[in-house]
């Protein structure tokens, strides 16, 4: 007689799995990858390959020789962390620094907490901030975007980012008009498309938004996180711009420069380190937006989204406890 399997219901399973989710994230990053290769050339490809390779390598080595547990590099999460790390560095960063960053990303921020699903902070951001603090010079000398097939040759090899120019200008007491008139300042359309100095993945807002919409449709992220971050930054920037337009630049500048789009769409939405429930996600997003704008307007760094996300990551467990989903049958009295 044949034996039947006995188990509790449900007896069927949906088609979702971890690998599929990770692959969806990778597909969503393809537009930004292509843009980075277009503007920064083979350097961009080099950085991405090194970061992904090193991330997978470290995860494998740690799982095999330190934890002596199952090897899970095929689930794609190490590759995603690698690409995100690459997105967060300049294209001309030395290889060994990138490898060190990948070690911190995978070894410190991810595996030391127990691997995928256990890390309280976004691993790629931890790696990025480690690199920024350890190698400030190399991490802030940005190659100038040089589109493939471009007719003009530019002499400058590195140049400041739009946010860097802004911070420096404001620090020197210049007005917004004077800062915007700086020849190094990228024009509006360039900022939108990505034709400016910056980290690999952050330059093109358009490419990032396309990826974000793709992830929302595939239900890998909820729109609440990016939208609440972007709206908060926009509103705060607008308020201060209205108060003193010559000291505080218009909000669209903030939206399309620096890592805001990258952070809002790809980093803050990391499932593991962001809150679980929709109301909590909005609180999380607003918090990130506020901290970002505070750092950008009054902080020492020109860019604040990385720190903002990491700080809010720390609040995630508290947010999860405080903001519950809407229960069925909860009567208002």
């Amino acid at each position: 007689m044949s034996l039947f399997t006995i188990s509790g219901s449900p007896h069927v399973h949906g088609e979702e799995n971890v690998k599929k989710i990770m692959l969806t994230v990778v597909y969503a990053m393809v537009p930004a990858m292509l843009v980075s290769i277009y503007f920064f050339g083979l350097d961009a490809l080099r950085v991405m390959l090194i970061a992904v390779g090193a991330s997978i390598f470290f995860e494998y080595v740690i799982q095999k020789y330190l934890i002596k547990g199952p090897i899970t590099i095929t689930d794609g999460s190490a590759a995603v962390a690698g690409i995100l790390l690459a997105f967060n560095v300049p294209a001309n960063v030395p290889a060994w620094m990138l490898v060190a960053g990948a070690l911190v990303t995978i070894g410190v921020a991810k595996m030391s907490f127990g691997g995928l699903g256990k890390n309280p902070f976004n691993p790629a951001l931890v790696g990025r901030v480690f690199m920024l603090i350890s190698f400030p010079v190399q991490m802030t000398s940005w190659p100038v975007a040089k589109p493939l097939f471009a007719s003009h040759l530019t002499d400058a090899i590195t140049g400041p980012t739009a946010l860097g120019l802004l911070k420096e200008g404001v620090g020197a007491g210049k007005t917004v008009d004077q800062i915007l008139a700086d020849p190094q300042m990228p024009q509006y359309l360039d900022r939108l498309m990505g034709n400016m100095s910056g980290s690999l993945g952050e330059v093109s807002a358009i490419a990032l938004i396309i990826g974000g919409i793709f992830m929302v449709i595939r239900k890998v992220i909820d729109w609440q996180v990016p939208v609440s971050i972007i709206l908060t930054v926009f509103i705060m920037a607008e308020i201060f711009h209205l108060i003193d337009p010559q000291h505080y630049i218009e909000p669209s500048f903030h939206l399309f420069s620096g890592g805001l789009m990258l952070g809002a769409i790809f980093m803050a939405t990391d499932m593991v380190s962001s809150p679980m429930n929709l109301s909590g996600k909005i609180v999380f997003g607003v918090g990130i937006g506020l901290i970002t704008i505070i750092i950008r307007l009054w902080g020492a760094y020109p860019e604040g989204i990385s720190f903002a996300i990491l700080i809010m990551n720390a609040f995630t467990p508290l947010i999860n406890n405080a903001f519950k989903p809407k229960r069925f049958g909860l009567v208002k009295k």
Binding site: S2, F4, T5, I6, S7, G8, S9, P10, H11, V12, H13, G14, E16, N17, V18, K20, I21, T72, D75, S77, G114, G115, L116, G117, K118, K219, M271, V272, M276, N277, K324, P325, K326, R327, F328, G329, L330, V331
Partner: protein
């Protein structure tokens, strides 16, 4: 046609796999022996009133439900009582059952076995309830709650709506669908009878949109019945859940821990409505029901009209025999059904379907680590956090689980169905509900 409605929180959409929705109901021949478990209703099992050697006719009372929540059992065929002994039933336990050696199908005299449709309702409110009790009716949707108890509205409450479940949101199952197509008039008379018993002016029959033929058929028939509305619903699991169905049909939310009557609703199922018709208009006790026997590798998946007590193995044989690579045998649908260890258990009043899964379909995904994607929370129709509740249950933190409303879980399985990490969330939730329930009972 009305606009499609549905419930608002959570829900999933598993593959429907309705293999048998176009297969007409056939009557299965009587087996040589029927094994009739006594525990077929929710509540206290009835006491047998026959003994070894007794001759019984089809429809004769053989076990009487004496407790408040209990229901009668009648002989599903005529024959001789072989013994009263323990037998394995679909719950997986050995429990008391009446063994009947079938000699024929001679019906008790006072039962109308003709097929003519009796539309005129002659019985009064209290007579209807008494008849339903006498005929041993239970909810045929699967919960098997005695129907006559449901018809008794507590003092101070009023049933504003009778809501009839024609949703059949479980994949594969089609018995209710076929009943609506083939027994539409009888169902509507049954609904009218229940409306009279409940003093209710309005009845809503909720049917999911994947059964357009049933919606069309009942909508057309319902025009000649007073107060019965057919409500098409968007296909979403678990819409057949009592609370979800009420929300979908009349947009009321049953408070946590309360019964539907709290919001003026009584919920029943189309199969039960048909049984009510037969009991009240034909004096026919509940001794048979429609059972879907289905599975992707069965040669003839079917809908059978089966007498209670028929072994499931007979259904499988009639559907083309047990396929070689059957890995799992399920009593019910794939989302909430119970897996069986053997086909040698009898059909009972609550059996709506038997599903055979292939070996490859029977395997659960390998559990990985939770990636905190919150998909379980998004799909939970009760607005709970399955990832948290399963963790609390694993850690034995039942007090905290109670605060997080673990007892509201309806065990629909949407969380586990959707989990990308393949975690056995519902296994832990069930354990947690058991333990938390103990905790609550001990406190009293």
């Amino acid at each position: 046609m009305n606009k499609l409605k549905t419930f608002t929180i959570g829900g999933v959409h598993p593959h429907e796999n309705k293999l048998t929705d176009q297969v007409a109901i056939r009557t299965l021949p009587l087996p040589k022996q029927l094994i009739i478990p006594l525990g077929q209703n929710l509540g206290v099992p009835p006491k047998p009133i026959v003994k070894k050697g007794d001759e019984v006719k089809t429809g004769q009372l053989i076990a009487r439900g004496e407790a408040f929540i209990s229901s009668n059992i009648h002989a599903p065929a005529s024959g001789k009582i072989l013994k009263i002994d323990d037998a394995l039933d679909a719950s997986g336990y050995r429990r008391q059952a009446i063994f009947l050696d079938v000699t024929g199908d001679e019906w008790a005299d006072d039962i109308d076995t003709s097929g003519t449709i009796e539309r005129e309702i002659k019985l009064s409110k209290s007579e209807i309830v008494a008849r339903i009790k006498e005929c041993g009716l239970v909810g045929l949707g699967g919960a098997t709650f005695p129907t006559h108890v449901k018809m008794m509205i507590p003092d101070g409450k009023k049933a504003e709506y009778l809501i009839i479940n024609g949703v059949e949101c479980e994949p594969y199952l089609t018995s209710d669908h076929r009943m609506m197509l083939e027994k539409g008039d009888e169902i509507l008379v049954g609904v009218s009878i229940m409306m009279r018993a409940l003093d209710t002016e309005k009845a809503v029959i909720g049917i999911e949109n994947n059964k357009p033929d049933a919606i069309a058929k009942l909508s057309q028939l319902a025009q000649s019945y007073k107060g019965i509305q057919i409500q098409p619903l968007k296909v979403k699991y678990p819409q057949g859940g009592e609370k979800q169905l009420i929300k979908a049909c009349v947009n009321r939310e049953v408070p946590s821990g309360k019964l539907p009557i709290e919001v003026g609703c009584v919920v029943s199922n189309v199969g039960t409505a048909f049984a009510v018709y037969e009991a009240v208009q034909k004096n026919k006790p509940l001794i048979e029901r429609v059972v879907t026997i289905t599975g992707k590798n069965l040669t003839h998946p079917s809908n059978f009209l089966v007498r209670v007590g028929t072994p499931i193995s007979d259904l499988i044989a009639a559907a083309g025999g047990m396929p070689e690579d059957t890995g799992k045998l399920i009593n019910g649908g794939p989302m909430m059904g119970k897996s069986l260890s053997t086909p040698d258990v009898p059909v009972v009043k609550g059996s709506s379907g038997i599903l055979l899964l292939k070996n490859e379909e029977s395997k659960r995904p390998t559990p990985k680590t939770c990636i905190r994607c919150s998909k379980c929370t998004v799909v939970c129709p009760m607005g709970l956090e399955p990832f948290l509740l399963s963790k609390l249950s694993k850690l034995g933190l039942y007090e905290r689980a109670e605060k997080e409303q673990i007892m509201d879980c309806i065990e629909c399985g949407s969380c586990q169905f959707t989990c990308p990490s393949g975690l056995p969330l519902l296994d832990y939730l069930r354990l947690g509900k058991q333990k938390t329930g103990q905790l609550i009972r001990n406190r009293k």
